[in-house]
């Protein structure tokens, strides 16, 4: 069995985790164009080698970050998302039609 180290729960069987895909910077949804947004949503680096990606420990719904080699399947490091995201991400939504500023 493959073991992954959850920053919250310690070493666990990999079957307890869900893969969340690579970590990437989100463009501002209010200012970016449809093309840029589609790139962000769909296009993948699909890197062969070291990657930084989201993982979730499903039983506790705890999301964190793992560094993993996608060729050797080695998990090099796992850590809390707070190591990368120092500030809270605010999701400002675009104004609805009819609202001021729409």
């Amino acid at each position: 069995m493959k073991i992954m180290n959850c920053p919250l729960n310690g070493p666990r069987n990999i079957s307890e985790f869900a893969w969340g895909g690579e970590l990437r910077a989100m463009p501002d949804p209010n200012t970016c164009g449809a093309h840029e947004w589609a790139d962000y949503v769909f296009l993948e680096n699909n890197t062969a080698g070291m990657v930084r990606e989201w993982w979730c420990h499903v039983p506790t719904s705890f999301w964190f970050i793992a560094e993993r080699d996608t060729v050797s399947d080695e998990i090099v490091r796992t850590y809390r998302a707070t190591e990368v995201f120092k500030d809270r991400v605010e999701f400002k939504t675009a104004p609805l039609p009819g609202e001021p500023g729409s």
């Binding site: 069995m1 493959k2 990999i14 079957s15 985790f17 869900a18 893969w19 895909g21 449809a34 093309h35 589609a38 790139d39 769909f42 296009l43 993948e44 680096n45 699909n46 062969a48 996608t70 060729v71 050797s72 399947d73």
Partner: protein, 413 residues
Amino acid sequence: MPFGLLKYGLSRKHPVERHFPLPTELKPAYDVVIIGAGGHGLAAAYYLAAYHDITNVCVIDKGYLAGGNTARNTAIIRSNYLTPDGVRFYEESLALYRTLSEELDFNILYSERGHFTLAHTDAALRTSRWRAEVNKHMGVDSELIYPDDIHRLCPSLNLSHDVRYPILGALYHPPGAIARHDAVAWGYARAATRRGVEIHTNTEVIGIHEENGRVTAVETTKGVVRCGLAMQAVAGSSGRVAKLAGFRLPIKTIPLQACVSLPLKPFLDQIVVSGSLHIYISQTPRGELVMGGSTDPYGLYSSRSTLDFKEGLLGHMLELFPFLGDVHVARQWAGMADMTPDFSPIMGLTPLDNYYIDSGWGTWGFKATPVCGRRMAELIATGRVPDILYPFRLERFAEFAQVGEKGAASVGH
């Protein structure tokens, strides 16, 4: 033919026919370079040579002939997809498959078995009904059947309610078939090389030269070859090769595993699939049970096998066929599947003018080998995207116009 066989048996030489010419040196230039000698690349080369008279073609592969997913798949062929675009496309492939042995003069062991997609929940029944209606509208033989008919058609299946997920119904697709996967690739390779196409194996593409938005040459481990145009058909390596050409794809490379049992007496004529249990099974003409499931839970560039896969698969298999409890697994393997977000392929134009792509075949591309080869060849020869390929263009993602086939492709193969 029987006479020829007799002569062969009595002769002392037992001459063996060479399927492909001996390898030669790469030429400095070709009209068309195809990257990837899997079924798709070889089929495109064949149709270019046979239907469009374009024979100055070179197919390059980093490994041995058709040793990628073409060698690893479980050979299920069907057209009972969910979207009209998907159904039309795969149905054309079935039509080509039916006559492929004659066309290539190479027996691909095409065998129509009948394909069952089992439904264990109301939601799965609803999707089956939806698929059946779309299929029938498109002229594809497909219907929703219930346990009494399932039992009549496939008596070895366990229809008891004393299981975790009782069977409520099935989408039945009589034309569902299997074929010998290696033979499909070898047949195309032989027919293509006979018409002058060159195949270079053990030659990896490591760079793509570009000038003013056009590909000028392909760099390989055996030197640089110039080309009029190029096409990539590299399945699990799609992202890596596209990166050489300077663009990214909406593709994740995720392993897909499969296994076979020791041979048993024939008892299962049909192909049985369960999307809810994440398994599928068929019996080869040699008697082995070919079994597979869904893709691995995370992306990886590796074809390693895992115990998790086998345990999960076989646990569910015993619900459908409890009497297989004592049967041994003979082999287990994996391939690298190029998965798209909408479970449909990506075919056609790319950001480079004379560079074409055939990718995103994930877990379902073997069945599409003939149609894809034929239509990609048409695109290359005429420069126009055939209508049947248009829905599968790379640009669909930027246009938010996906072709959602998850309900028909996830564990459907």
